[in-house]
Amino acid sequence: MTASKATTEQAGTPAASGYRSLSMPMRYLINAILVVVFLVVGELMIDGGVVSRYQTGVIEQIGIYIILAVSLNIATGYLGQLPLGHAGFMSVGGYSCAIFIMRMMDVVGVTARDFATGSPAAVGLFVLGIIFGGICAAICGLIIGVPALRLKGDYLAIITLGFAEIIRVVMQNIDSVLGFTLTGGAKGLTGIPSYTNFLNTFIVVVISLFLIHTMMKSRHGRAILSIRDNEIAAESCGVNTTYYKTLAFVASAFFAGVAGGLYAGCIGVMAPAKFGFMKSIEILVMVVLGGMGSMLGSVISATVLTILPEALRAVSDYRMVVYAVVLILVMIFRPEGLLGDYDFSMSRVIERIMNHGKRPEDLAPATTPAAEAVAAAPEPSTVTAATEKDTGKEAHTHE
């Protein structure tokens, strides 16, 4: 028996070493309470006029971009692909949700005013519309996913870009083909009732984040991650790569559609030209800047990048140049994105407070190879510390 074996055996699991942790129901309860508190405080501040209408509008857009970034992160950060057509899904969701709601308003007798007062029928219509938008986008995700998933890397990127452009052209011209008014053509779809507000945006954001989180932290999420890390190995471990890639794509598209639905209600017009390639890029920038595979990173960078152009109004003529420079500098100095793939967990923070600021590692020494190396250093036959040994080599594998 070698020393390395001996040291690893000393180390128990965190639970065994006396680390106090929270039970799962407890964690969910804590998070649920936080969400409700936040919601109530936010609503009160808006009603009380502490937060202005301008700020509320910007907050709603932040919420929409959070959903967009986090949903794109499924395909980019978690699945490891490079889709460049996210705006396409957003536009499909936006159009279909808006059209659905506008057509159904007459049928169920809901007026634009009802959305402001929040009558049950209006709420129901909103929910149905948002889900309808998500499903339409998800169907597009499926259609694009099937051929696209045969492709790798940048070829996939370009095919998604192409598909989004096709969606744009279709939205622009479908009216003249069908011979009746559906999307409003080049002029766009106008007169969309403003069914989006802080309250429902916030709730949709929370639900979306929750669903994406639970999907990723399950066997399905692990399968998606494994494809990112090594597709060939994933197949050899019985991961149905086609299914999971499609799943990731469809989920990504679904939530983009949901965000599109919110967007339509927030702005009131949908113009096809605005959902081109540049919009997709804008969302991608948020994901990469935040850190690929980090949900918190996406949330933060969606927030920052939505506020940034607004904050830069003071230097209005130069703001896009400044924005570009900021982008370049961040990438040069933080190539892994702001957060890398770190993810925040409220319960972990609370656990640390419960354990008087110690982390599980502190209580269970020698669980990390670095610590192991220290412990085992005098014995030459032990395996010593290794960090991300392959990074250098990885960078050179071409796919």
């Binding site: 690893t8 399950s218 494994s226 890390d229 060939i232 050899s236």
Partner: protein, 270 residues
Amino acid sequence: METPNLVPERELGKMPVLQAEHLGIDFGGLTAVDDFNIAMGRTEISGLIGPNGAGKTTIFNLLTNVYKPTRGTILLDGYDTAGKSVVEVNKMGIARTFQNIRLFNKMTVEENVLVGFGNSMSTHLLTDVFRLSKHWKQEAEFHDKAMDLLGIFSMQGLAHERAGNLPYGAQRRLEILRALATNPKVLLLDEPAAGMNPAETEELMENIEKIRDDFQIAILLIEHDMNFVMGICEVIGVLDYGRIIAKGTPEEIQNDPKVIEAYLGKQGVK
């Protein structure tokens, strides 16, 4: 041999678990493997050796359907694997490791193993997404299973470490465990001892035998470390230019002049 499907169920126990006949593949003009035959017993450890480029890894790729054979058939438990995808072959019961380690580098050690357990996990997507109680039960169950599995190599303490950060030897071991997690009948190991020092190699040998005994599976391995191969394998096949040139027990192989000439060289003689 008869059509595989005709074999009566009860006979399955007696037949070889893995059987390949006249297996061959060409890459353009190059015949990388030709007329390869093998019949593996249920709990047998066999070795595949041969000079570099002889086609050993290629045989693994054929057995797992990574490459489509140009000729020949592969039967697993009597079922033909022709036309099956890599995923399906794994689910049928063949798992493998890779010559160049292929771990899920950014995932933790435990997660790597859990991906392997995917074959046995059964919750529906919605069960997991909405966190129904079945989800929690299953996660807990497989967490324990994963820990048991990691115990084989005393790696429980590394469960939350990123796989990519592990030392080389630990990475090789983890790859074996991940393959085991897929619940295979046959385990293919491609140079499991490469990059390990003699002490580590010895430990690995013990563990591989233990795995065979505990899991009652067949193991086919490729290795250039002769101490390792000779010490652990019951049968060894020697491949040269894609063809088997010798087959037998370690002693027979060690003294086969053809093998010495093509593969062992001076080291084999001594």
